[in-house]
């Protein structure tokens, strides 16, 4: 008998105080999907960053909005979608990370997206039914190498 793969959908208010919950839930789901502890922690960090981006950029810090997270073990890959109904944020507008300017200009913009891209196998943004969907995917066969 093949048991169904777990999937989880939660809604949280757009407040940073819920990032701890996001981290816990993502880490547990990643561990349940078979990722080692260190990788599961990094996946949780990527989702933390994606959620923080929504709070800060799509909702501009407003704490009375809703963020939906869909976390799925899809067999060969682990997928998390972070969904909001805030302002459309063009990920291409996020400044690219420039290490040389970190110190001289105190530039920290783009660090979160850069981290997400380095941790995940793919990070995509799309607009669907007037909502923003940030989709983070980690393949299980790539996890061992990281």
């Amino acid at each position: 008998m093949r048991a169904p793969k777990p999937s989880l959908m939660i809604s949280i208010p757009s407040q940073t105080s819920f990032l701890g919950l996001v981290r816990e839930v993502t880490k547990k789901m990643a561990e349940s999907a078979g990722f080692a502890d260190g990788t599961a922690e990094r996946l949780a960090l990527a989702v933390d960053e994606a959620t923080t981006n929504v709070i800060e950029h799509a909702y501009h810090g407003s704490g009375d909005r809703e963020i939906e997270l869909r976390i799925e073990d899809r067999g060969p890959e682990f997928r998390v979608e972070v969904v909001d109904s805030g302002a459309t944020v063009d990920p291409r507008a996020v400044p690219r990370v420039d290490l040389g300017r970190y110190v001289s200009e105190r530039r920290t913009g783009g660090l979160g997206v850069h981290l997400m891209e380095k941790i995940m196998d793919s990070v995509t943004f799309r607009r669907s039914a007037r909502r923003n969907v940030c989709c983070l995917v980690k393949r299980k066969d790539s996890a061992a190498a990281r």
Partner: protein, 121 residues
């Protein structure tokens, strides 16, 4: 259990910070506050002992970035010690290991400040 606690102590003129838990957009204010407290007291030699740090998000890295210029401008430095695999990996991903001195242990990090003083005297 709180998501983050930050204990501090001074050893040989070096301020040691012990973040325990995780630093993200929610908990970063506490971490940032402890760094700023040290700076307000004229302490510019700082070691962050990361032994209890589960992970650090970009907000936490931003807090370090925001203070490093003032610290180094006053002849000090912020150094890191005892990073776990996850935190070390994050630093390497972002190239922060080239911007900050990282030591295997707290003692080595403290001693590194002493060596600079001895060389300068």
């Amino acid at each position: 259990m709180p998501e983050l606690t930050v204990e501090t102590r001074d050893v040989e003129g070096v301020t040691l910070l012990y973040p325990k838990g995780f630093i993200n957009a929610h908990t970063v204010r506490l971490f940032e506050g402890e760094i700023q407290k040290a700076l307000a007291q004229g302490q510019f030699k700082i070691v962050v002992n990361c032994a209890g740090l589960v992970y650090i998000a970009s907000a936490g890295l931003g807090a370090i970035m925001g203070a490093i210029e003032e610290i180094r401008g006053n002849g000090g430095d912020l150094r890191l010690a005892s990073l776990n695999e996850t935190v070390r990996n994050i630093f390497e991903i972002l190239g922060f290991n080239h911007l900050y001195r990282i030591y295997a242990s707290e003692v080595e990090a403290i001693t590194s400040f002493r060596r600079v003083e001895e060389a300068g005297s």
